[in-house]
């Protein structure tokens, strides 16, 4: 089963939920894998430090023009929808950071003057935090495209795992979609504030567009107002767990400790969340395969 933890707004507690969930699951004897797909700012390893056993670079294909063969016909510039290749009178410029690696220029060049070369944009790290199998993606600093790194992380998903937990990036655009799209259940972590609710509504729209089943965990549930609960009730969205704005939890998080390990009562709460999550995910899987 694959569970993604996502949110519209940043900083609502995605990583807290993903790491604590993985810990209670592995302690119950499940085979657990945690995929850190927040590749712009990956934080899982701060809470579940792991020794990196191997790394794999993430590389994209970008065109390189053989100027000796090029006749300056200009076709490559015409076929590129991303303005990543610009033929000038004296040379052909390639803007690698704009390139989507579609291969159109290379394939369609009448002189076959274009070849593709590999360009690194990030890295995947693989290791173990105790019995939790960890895979983390890191977008290189200065690079723009997170989705290919996220794809590379997901390629390491273990089909034999009982539970794969995905820590998704914040937002509702392409990186989030890439992270959650094959999940059996998406847990949306939200705060009961105007910003939190506004961004949750966007995330809900995204999940509906993807036809992914989802449910909510309300974090810092006692700050703000009651609008989040009212919205979920109105929309028929289940709130799986409410976590209070607990100074002890905030303190543990600030030090990189897991609440289930150091704050009394949280192991029980997250065990309850795990049971609920597994049940919802299974219901969905059964409904789809039937």
């Amino acid at each position: 089963m694959r569970i993604a933890v996502a949110s519209g707004k940043g900083g609502t507690g995605k990583t807290t939920v993903a790491t604590n969930l993985a810990r209670v699951a592995v302690d119950q004897g499940l085979r657990v894998q945690l995929l850190d797909c927040d590749v712009e700012e990956p934080n899982c390893s701060l809470f579940l430090p792991f020794r990196v056993e191997r790394t794999a670079p993430v590389e994209l294909n970008v065109p390189r023009v053989d100027e000796a063969v090029c006749t300056r016909c200009g076709l490559c510039g015409e076929v590129c929808e991303f303005r990543a290749i610009v033929p000038l009178a004296t040379a052909v410029l390639v803007f690698a950071e704009l390139c989507h690696s579609c291969g159109a220029c290379t394939l369609l060049c009448p002189e076959q003057a274009i070849v593709e070369e590999r360009r690194r944009t990030g890295e995947v790290q693989i290791g173990r935090a105790g019995d939790i199998r960890m895979v983390a993606g890191l977008l290189d600093v200065g690079e723009t495209k997170a989705p290919p790194v996220i794809k590379a992380v997901k390629a390491h998903a273990d089909p034999r795992a009982d539970l794969v937990v995905i820590d998704a990036p914040p937002g509702t655009s392409c990186p989030v979609i890439e992270a959650v799209r094959e999940s059996d259940l998406v847990v949306l972590v939200a705060e009961p504030t105007p910003f939190g609710l506004h961004d949750l509504k966007l995330a809900v729209e995204a999940m509906r567009a993807l036809t992914r089943p989802f449910a909510v965990v309300a974090n810092r549930a006692d700050v703000g107002d009651d609008a989040l609960r009212a919205y979920c009730a109105r929309e028929g969205i289940e709130i799986l767990l409410e976590i209070a704005d607990d100074r002890a939890v905030a303190g543990a998080s600030s030090r990189g400790e897991l609440a289930v390990d150091v704050v009394p009562g949280y192991r029980e709460r997250f065990s309850g969340l795990l049971a609920a999550v597994c049940q919802r995910g299974e219901q969905w899987t059964r409904a789809v395969t039937r």
Binding site: G10, E40, L46, T144, R181
Partner: protein, 309 residues
């Protein structure tokens, strides 16, 4: 080029880690700064309008890209498109394009021997210039599950500059996106000063390091603000040292204060008069932060002017 004195100054507030208080800080600055345009570049999840009570004006559609559209009646299922699509966006049985996978490169349309595929523009967001009590607000919302947030961010900044020029406003305050990728880079390139808002946690510290790496990559002057500083004073001290070492122009702090959230729930800012009275220090800290930020903006503009002469 404009001389430094006439040039519009652009302050960009970013964070690396999400939820550290970018928008609350920007909303406070909106109240302190004079003669400015506000620009919300967190187009994935734009929230600034929630605390600025804008009067809604005209909405504009944004089309940042195209997508393949397949005419199943014409398709002969020859498979050329499927063979060459790098994004596995096409399938034959039945012939269709997966809108989530298609990146709009158009290779399929060029290769199709019977003209069954064409590229069509996608409306991938909306943007608007609205008036608020604190000045014009340029903001946008990316369509759900859409791509190309970088282009929409660039559009918002471009519009903010146009409005600043037209109305003779000297400062643009930009609320940026979390992370270090495409929308963040689009929101900070070419700005006058970057303010990074972080928090005293291991994650805040880690993410500060990565986002400062991006800021330095583009050689931009930056300052750091540690929000909710008393959450963990020990980590806060470490974050401040790290920021200074990285070359921050200054490092400021804001105290943890529940009035910040209460003000937001009421659609306002902690620096508004009615909330300042209840504030446990954040309002005062934000006022200080703006004073230091404005001083740096003035100083940097002066430097540019010297260089220009």
């Amino acid at each position: 080029m404009d001389s430094g004195g006439d040039a519009v100054r652009e302050l960009v507030v970013i964070s690396g880690k999400g939820g550290t208080g970018k928008t609350s800080v920007t909303a406070a600055f909106a109240r302190f700064a004079s003669q400015k345009v506000l620009a919300d570049c967190d187009v994935d999840a734009a929230d600034l309008h929630l605390v600025l009570a804008p009067r809604s004006g005209e909405r504009h559609e944004f089309s940042g890209r195209k997508r393949a559209v397949l005419d199943a009646a014409r398709c002969t299922s020859c498979g050329v498109c499927v063979e060459h699509c790098r994004f596995t966006a096409l399938q034959l049985d039945p012939p269709r394009v997966d809108p989530l996978d298609c990146e709009g490169c158009g290779l399929c349309a060029r290769l199709c021997p019977v003209g069954a595929v064409r590229l069509s523009p996608v409306v991938s967001g909306v943007w608007a210039v609205d008036d608020t009590a604190w000045g014009p607000l340029v903001h946008a919302q990316l369509g759900v599950a859409e791509d190309n947030s970088g282009k929409l961010v660039s559009l918002v900044r471009q519009e903010a500059r146009r409005v600043a020029k037209e109305r003779g406003l000297g400062t643009i305050l930009v609320d940026g996106a979390p992370g270090i990728g495409c929308p963040v880079i689009a929101s900070l390139t070419g700005s006058s000063l970057v303010l990074v808002v972080t928090e005293p946690t291991v994650a805040g510290r880690h993410d500060l390091g990565r986002v400062v790496g991006v800021v330095r990559h583009f050689r931009l002057p930056f300052a750091v603000c540690v929000n909710k500083t008393d959450l963990n004073p020990e980590v806060a001290a470490g974050v401040r040292a790290q920021a200074r070492e990285a070359g921050a122009l200054f490092v400021s702090t804001i105290r943890y204060d529940r009035a910040v959230t209460r003000a937001m729930v009421a659609g306002g800012s902690v620096v508004d008069e009615e909330w300042t009275r209840e504030s446990g220090g954040a309002a005062e800290d934000m006022r200080m932060l703006w004073a230091r930020t404005e001083r740096e903006l003035d100083r940097l503009a002066g430097e540019d002017e010297d260089k220009g002469e």
